[in-house]
Amino acid sequence: MQEKNISANNFEQCQKCSLCETVCPVMANNPDYGGPKRSGPDGERYRLKNGIFFDDSLKYCLNCKRCEVACPSGVRIADLIQQARIDFNKKSPKLRDMMLASTDQMGPLASTFAPIVNFSLGLGPVKSVLDATIGIDRHRTMPKYASKTFVHWFKKNAAAAQDGFKKHISYFHGCYANYNYPQLAKDFVAVMNAFGYGVHLMDGERCCGVAKIANGMIPAATRDAKINMGAFRKSIAEGRDIVTVSTTCTMTLLEEYPELLKVDNDDVKNHVSLVEQFLYKAIASGEVKPVWKEGWKARAAYHCPCHQERLGLGIFTTELLKMIPGMELTELESNCCGIAGTYGFKKENYAVSQKIGKPLFDDIKAAAPEFVACECETCKWQIEMSTGVPVKNPVSILAEALDLEKTSELNRP
């Protein structure tokens, strides 16, 4: 009989139980979207028969991957949808999509002119023009660009000290921390250093490519993926594992490279961790010891980003935050915030994006925390814009709550 019946065509395992449809945030809010089952496994069956069955509505999938988390049969539903968009959507990406997607090319440009760019992107008339011309929704606040990138700062102020540590890691900072929010990366360096780890940048780190994949720029994304994997391998060979801060970058590096870009990462996977996972394990095992600031107190609500859930790593963040003595943590219901990276910036998705996020926004308002703890940068923009409650990355919370000096003394070998 059939010796192994796990098909390479993973969609075959779909039992049509439709659980995925119950968790899809888009399906509940956009009647034009057929939902994960129909767009994924069902659609794939018909697309194999005839490409005419590729449906344009697949563009509404925001790739939150909640369907994959829910699927009891392990079907990679969101990947099927992304793959179909790659294979069948022959329209070349719009200028807007290219601009939104090319975080690594727009970044250096915008950083150089940061004051002008930030000022103009914040102006009402400019927003209206962007809305009318290239379709970036006027309600959106574009992420601010920093005038000095993190890499620039690091090389000038921190790099030299790193060799003095006993233990070393490589840091995949991603575009956001580099161009838009260097403070996050600086917090990361401070925390890792306090725990006795030297932080190193990798030669030629590229954008993880998530936005390029979402916007159909596959050759560019594949090129970057290969360069990144080369850099990772070099770092691993030199004895440094890789620590990341961005959830979505991490998911892309670990999951999307082999599945969608066909860039192999089998030998690399076990050497990459998200910072919360890395630190939780190090503290729990006694490898490192934290010293918390006397009297530090905060009331926070934790929102687990969709991709963190897909990776199954949210638990590390909550457990890590609960270690902080003064932390009063509410865990919010699992809901998508609706922005999904560049998705929510597009004019055609704005209304749906806000509808999707509403249950989360309501929960946050009801919990009325001092701030929301969340690992994801785009969730941060969405939540701050929609609720007015500030969002802090767990790394920045640690940087605040730790007595960095004492921690650093305690962990000095």
Binding site: M1, Q2, E3, K4, N5, I6, S7, A8, N9, F11, E12, Q13, C14, Q15, K16, C17, S18, G34, K37, R38, P41, D42, G43, E44, R45, Y46, L48, K49, N50, I52, F53, D55, D56, S73
Partner: protein, 542 residues
């Protein structure tokens, strides 16, 4: 007593042969009655590969069949574009075929025989074959390209019946033949039973055509004539999706399980060939041995089958006929057998048309209709080879789906693929009608309503044969209550819903049981759970 003839000709059997004969007779101006005890295409017509033979399979051994096939192949491509898909076909040679005496020397013989029969056969290199069909066994040592294709037998049969009806034929399904009305040596008509109402009736015509496939044996016995039929069971397996897009055959002496056909949204491997007793023809079960054999042979054509989900197994019975000239009955012809029982047996007013294949149904119908016309003294030429079937005037999905205004939904594309250019008759106006009932096969409520109203649907199996409802991965688990509700309402008795659904699922279950392991077993478990606990469906939930 003067005989009142209701019809010119009565045709027994709503398979493809009967349907084709009804169409041909009606197009030649005859008053036709077609009777079928179940639904159309329920016998061997609906239980085969759906292969549009190029004839290559027969070229070496039986050049006459091969020539018939390629002629009909070309005709069907032009008159049945909505039912036919031009997939192309490969005949591959594997290393083990070489040892069995069917190596590349045989390939040469094969190509010559094909060309002699008028089949465009061309050898290509193994790497070209792998490029043409990536799922093909990569260890092949040779391949020949032939003009095989796939044909949807349900659609083809339905189109013939529809056209017959459009030309004035009366079609009675669920009407069982009981006996002949006979006077001396003349057949005057038939006694029938409406299997749904239990009412008996009589219909008369100067000629009756026995087109009942393997059951034609029993029909002939009622007239006191014997046809030496040989019921040959053929088992097949349906895989969950299209594994291949080109038909794959083995380039060797025909054997079991050596044809892999991509048909609509699935792939089918077959067949076996076993003689079965006549009593078993009504209830075919596929055995574990047959499943193993088909899988083993299938994997030789296409290794991916070893890990592909099997949706179900089914079997049909070929109506093979022993050669009249051979008293032992061992010499079987796969060719067409058209018997005028007046000259053969001295029974007037009866013609039997049998043997043959799905591929040559039109030719069979032409021969039968010629015989009918001769008997009636009608002098009309056959035009079925030139006249497109309904739905196939311009039946390609690519052109048909362009007819819709605005954004074309998946349900509309699905319907365009199935109903061809008749899709315009489907009313997609309301949002409700546009909703998918069967998500696996993209069947909308609108298409179901159309099939029920226009295509003579009585049960969900009937509906399945016309729309593919419930033929996908879940085998009806998620959609069949919705379809049952729609059908029950259309039939004017909403209380039928539960029974319609249960009958359908029983039939699906039968096909799944034979391959009940892995994902299929999980699906069966899921089906069971859903239906154990399901409350009556509320129409608002659709």
């Amino acid at each position: 007593m003067p005989v009142k003839n209701d019809f010119d000709v009565i045709i027994i059997g709503g398979g493809i042969t009967g349907a084709g004969t009804a169409r041909d007779c009606a197009m030649r101006g005859l008053k036709v009655l077609l009777i079928e005890r179940h639904d159309i295409a329920t016998g061997a017509t609906g239980r085969n590969h759906g292969l549009l033979h190029s004839g290559a399979r027969y070229a070496v051994k039986d050049s006459e069949s091969a020539e018939e096939c390629i002629r009909e192949n070309k005709i069907l491509r032009s008159i049945a574009s909505n039912c036919v898909e031009d997939t192309g076909g490969l005949f591959i040679t594997l290393p083990e075929d070489e040892d069995a005496g069917f190596g590349l020397d045989y390939q040469k013989t094969f190509i010559e025989a094909c060309q002699k029969a008028g089949i465009d056969a061309k050898a290509i290199s193994p790497s070209e074959a792998r490029e043409m069909e990536p799922s093909v066994n990569p260890s092949l040592i040779g391949a020949v390209v032939v003009p095989d294709g796939s044909v949807d037998p349900f659609r083809l049969c339905s189109a013939n019946v529809t056209d017959a009806a459009m030309h004035g034929a009366k079609v009675l399904v669920y009407t069982q033949f009981l006996d002949f009305i006979r006077e001396g040596d003349t057949i005057l008509g038939v006694k029938v039973l409406d299997t749904r109402t239990g009412q008996e009736a009589e219909y008369r015509a100067p000629v009756t055509v026995n087109a009942a496939g393997i059951w034609g044996h029993g029909v002939a016995e009622k007239a006191g004539v014997h046809i030496g039929m040989y019921p040959a069971k053929g088992a097949l397996l349906v895989f969950g999706h299209r594994v291949n897009n080109v038909v794959i055959n083995r380039c060797r002496k025909s054997a079991d399980g050596d044809i892999l056909v991509p048909g609509d949204s699935v792939t089918v491997i077959g067949t076996t060939s076993t003689k079965v007793p006549f009593e078993e023809c009504d209830n075919m079960e596929v055995t574990p041995e047959e499943v193993s054999l088909l899988l083993r042979e299938g994997c030789a054509l296409c290794p991916a089958l070893a890990s592909t989900r099997i949706l179900r197994a089914y079997a049909g019975v070929r109506p093979l006929v022993a050669d009249d000239s051979d008293p032992t009955g061992r010499s079987i012809s796969r060719g067409i057998v058209c018997l005028d029982h007046e000259s053969r047996d001295g029974v007037k007013g009866l013609v039997s048309i049998t043997g043959g294949k799905l591929m040559t149904y039109r030719l069979m119908a032409e021969l039968a209709t010629d015989a009918v016309c001769r008997k009636l003294g009608v002098n009309q030429v056959c035009t079925t080879a030139e006249t497109p079937l309904p739905g196939s005037v311009d039946g390609r999905i690519e052109t048909v789906s362009k007819r819709f205004e605005g954004k074309v939904s998946l349900g509309q594309k699905g319907a365009a693929g199935r109903q061809g250019d008749l899709v315009g008759k489907i009313n997609f106006t309301t949002a409700e009608d546009k909703k998918l009932v069967c998500e696996c096969e993209n069947v909308t409520l609108a298409e179901i309503k159309y099939a029920v109203a226009e295509l003579g649907v009585r049960t969900l199996e009937d509906l399945r044969r016309r729309t593919r409802v419930g033929m996908g991965t879940c085998q009806g688990t998620l959609c069949i209550r919705k379809a049952a509700k729609a059908l029950a309402i259309a039939l004017g008795d909403p209380s039928l819903e539960g029974k319609l659904a249960a009958d359908y699922l029983d039939e699906r279950w039968k096909g799944m049981r034979a391959v009940g392991w892995g994902d299929t077993l999980r699906e069966m478990e899921f089906m069971q759970r859903v239906y154990k606990f399901q409350k009556p469906y509320s129409y608002d939930e659709i």
